[in-house]
Subunit: 309 residues, 2 copies
């Protein structure tokens, strides 16, 4: 990376080395710092060769627990040939089918949970397909999945991915969404999801969970939409209470309230509340050391130091 620092000097860290142990890992410090330590003005990327063949599959499963079992099994059987594993629940698919004219439910019957899988091969498409089908057949024989479809060409590959990629847009079409970007240990995703949805249904019966996310990364977008006929203003007013219920439970399951979106201003004060004090003190010490005048993206990630002291 090349980073312009708060004092106007420039860190020239663009050299393209895979291993470098000359001091602290500065590039990891600046990446994800949300501009609060300096401005990243250039970056070097390592490129990876493109696989020779890919295939997409959607598996229908009876529960999030089954989806997690499916993922664990695929990792073992496919290793690095498994390049994506995304999950979405039935209400998410409903929203996409309703909102996107070209989207079609790939199954005749509805299912509670779907998993989108991409398999890559450095041999060819046929090898990717054969590996994917083999893994799915074993999972169906063991009753982990109920049904599955596989892409036979690029148009079908795009169509299956489209079911996942259009969720955010479809979910927010014509209604408000209380969004969450949470990470959990893989072993706790199923238990968290069912416990949190049940608690929400008791405390906020006017809300409904539309849960989807990057299952392979342990990252859920555990989003909340209003039930039909609930006025949007009344729903909006629940935001703080719903966030607190969800994020309290995430924390009790050793999870993170920001998996990939960062803290910004929206999650800044919540994060400070959930973080152990030793961790918050470290963040403040690093911020003060590198940007003592608080010039860089003030108020993001950490409250302004005067406000914190």
């Amino acid at each position: 990376m090349e980073v312009v620092l708060p004092d106007g000097s420039i860190w020239h860290g663009l050299r393209t080395l895979f291993k470098d142990n000359m001091g602290y890992a500065l590039r990891h410090l600046f990446a994800g710092a949300e501009g609060t330590l300096g401005i990243i003005t250039a970056a070097s990327f390592r490129l990876f060769p493109k696989p020779a063949g890919v295939v997409a599959m959607v598996a229908a499963v009876p529960s999030i627990d089954a989806a997690c079992t499916l993922y664990a099994r695929l990792r073992t059987v496919l290793g690095p040939e498994l390049v994506a594993c995304e999950m979405f629940t039935r209400p998410c698919l409903d929203a996409v089918v309703r909102h996107v004219p070209s989207a079609r439910d790939p199954f005749a019957a509805p299912h509670p949970v779907y998993v989108l899988i991409e398999v890559a091969s450095f041999e060819d498409d046929a090898h990717a397909r054969s590996r994917g089908l083999g893994a799915m057949a074993a999972l169906m024989a063991d009753a982990i999945i109920t049904d599955a479809v596989i892409s036979e060409n690029n148009a079908q590959f795009r169509a299956l991915w489209g079911l996942r990629e259009h969720i955010s847009e479809a979910q927010g079409a014509g209604r408000p969404v209380i969004k969450h970007d949470i990470a959990l240990p893989l072993s706790k995703i199923a238990e968290f999801s069912s416990k949190c949805e049940e608690t929400l249904s008791w405390q906020f019966p006017q809300c409904r969970v539309e849960n989807f996310g990057h299952l392979g990364d342990g990252n859920l977008h555990f989003n909340i939409v209003p039930c039909p006929l609930i006025p949007h203003e009344a729903f909006h007013e629940l935001t703080g209470s719903v966030n607190m219920l969800v994020h309290d439970m995430v924390t009790s399951f050793s999870g993170s309230i920001s998996a990939e979106h960062g803290l910004g201003v929206l999650r800044r004060d919540e994060a400070a509340r959930y973080m152990p004090s030793a961790q918050l003190n470290l963040l403040k010490a690093i911020k003060t050391a590198i940007d003592p005048a608080g010039r860089m993206n003030p108020g993001k990630l950490l409250a302004n130091q005067s406000g914190l002291s």
Copy 2:
């Protein structure tokens, strides 16, 4: 990670999340800090499933340039099935064969450079072998490699790996070694190696290069041994001058003088000299912020602050 901090507080960062963006990436800061920011008392690791089959190959190539071409081609053809790519030059193999009773040169004729490759498959050993052989046949047809051997069983797999793993021990048997742990951009490994060896042969004719390393990581152990009949004391006295020649040239090729071993005390002052001042200032600011009294592993990685000011 769990880290005991200089003020006696503990950072509890053991949660097992793949994605977590609640503030700065602390675990990357403590990893590789050589204990200068705190003491790591526990760590969580992500485990990966074991491949179903593996095979080791050693390819003989005419030059380091050919070894780099070989690596680039294998990455493209094998993708993540290529799990190791190590290089060693002829003098390293000579040392191993001389020093290790069970070690045997796998080829009838000597070659300038060897590359050890491991191929992994999530199908079985036969698939790993077929993928490895296919890649090697294409490389031989294109005259990139001169000869190659492949392991047919676990004993041969271990024997081929042993040729690489015994180099350090064999190299240092009965003679001093001036060691380097350098990283270079992959595209500059061949040019650096020949230019540095040539310059050394002019300036220090009593020295000989024994070059080997983790080619896939761009990490060379560009080590120097005395020519026969050179007294060890006279060789020892060259250490500082040889280090400076090698590390000056590494820096001019945008490389690092510490790829994986860290700085400690041995490379600390050299590193401070080669580092851009903005980078050195960042390291000092982070050290001072987290360990203001200089309690943690004093004098390692960075000179004591009093000595620096």
